[in-house]
Symmetry: C2
Subunit: 213 residues, 2 copies
DNA sequence: TAGATTGTTAATCGATTAACAATC
DNA sequence: TAGATTGTTAATCGATTAACAATC
């Protein structure tokens, strides 16, 4: 299933949420136009790079005025598929899982977590930020019944793979993996792995030799 | 302050924690040697890329045998400055802050969070994963007294900058920024910004057109 | 020994940056 | 109009990948 957005560089995609954030601020301020110079002062990016990124949104700007705030917002949201929200289950309602459940931003990011699951009986039934933690037995049924497309894995490393297997068997299409194991999945399953340690490594090295970008 | 590790590519640094994780597994299994092929099967990386990364550790391997597990582990930990831990304060003991406080992995990653702070009186005094939440008034004193070098910002966006200012005034050297604002800091302060939305954007686009790496 | 794996140089690939004409 | 900003092509930069001799 291809699309007009096919060959967008990964770094460009990663920068898009930042643009959206600035756009929202401008919308609040009732600004109609935004220039790459505007973006630049709110993000750590150069105007030239922003201009290049804008090409991928399909929106063309107007010299001197910049880009229309509303049009650009819609284009980016569509580009990311954030115009029609996906539903997700979250497995592992521990510290990290709870934090993600409490993150208000997802609503604006096209993601709706519909239910948290946990294997720990003492957590099951708890209400976390408005959602009741479900027992693992109910996982597959809920995924199938609601047609959930995304699974968020926030379980300890050793159970990550078995959870992934269950999610895939139940028909999930994408996995957001916060465990530190490399998941083995069929090629049609999309996995995005988050690694908090990578960021810490970069900060550590930056602080060690105070050079680097 | 330069070092032998000066021009390490950022992508290489980001991959280092992954290598460490595999090395730890090998250490547990009492393996003495590890090859790039071994690494490759536990990470989504090609042997050639791993070999290139290894050059930056300063460790030379032995054809057929690979690299010495212990030596390589030590070299990477030293390279990241994870051999002697840094101390950090965490500001904002909400959902995300609590999750970070509960993350056991930091100990092995050269980071020790010594105290969480929060401006909310109903949270102050709470015990989160063994640490008592401190009132904001005590922030500067504790940083100075303990010589804390890192500040972790997990507060809502609108107070991010003012917290950063206070941290810097108190003598912090690095900031791990989990808020979504771009912090204005002097050039000698190192900032590492984490953005959960970037990862979600990548997953969303991957799922939309099932291509991409 | 034979062959897997390393280290290194060169080639390729892709992203960022520069340059500049077009334009509002 | 003058000048800031866009769009686009070309140049640069940096990281990944390929190729292959060296080696255990």
């Amino acid at each position: 299933m291809s699309s007009i957005y096919n060959n967008i560089p990964l770094p460009t995609i990663r920068r898009m949420p930042g643009y959206l954030r600035v756009l929202q601020d401008f919308q609040k301020e009732q600004e109609e136009w935004i220039t790459t110079t505007n973006f630049s002062s709110h993000l750590s990016l150069k105007p030239i790079q922003i201009r290049k990124d804008m090409v991928y949104t399909g929106i063309t700007g107007t010299p001197r005025l910049g880009f229309e705030v509303d049009k650009l917002t819609q284009a980016i949201r569509k580009m990311l598929g954030w115009d029609n929200p996906s539903e997700a289950v979250l497995i592992g309602a521990g510290a990290l899982g709870s934090a993600l459940l409490g993150y208000k931003g997802f609503a604006a990011h096209g993601l709706k977590i519909v239910a948290p699951f946990d294997s720990n009986d003492s957590i099951v039934g708890n209400n976390i930020h408005g959602l009741v933690v479900q027992p693992m037995e109910k996982l597959e049924d809920l995924i199938v019944r609601m047609g959930i497309s995304i699974g968020i894995i926030t379980v300890p490393d050793d159970s990550g793979q078995s959870i992934a297997d269950r999610l895939i068997a139940a028909g999930i299409q994408g996995i957001w993996n916060f465990s530190s194991v490399k998941l083995k999945v069929p090629s049609y399953i999309m996995v995005q792995k988050e690694d908090i340690a990578s960021g810490l490594a970069v900060l550590s090295v930056k602080m060690k030799n105070e050079i680097l970008p």
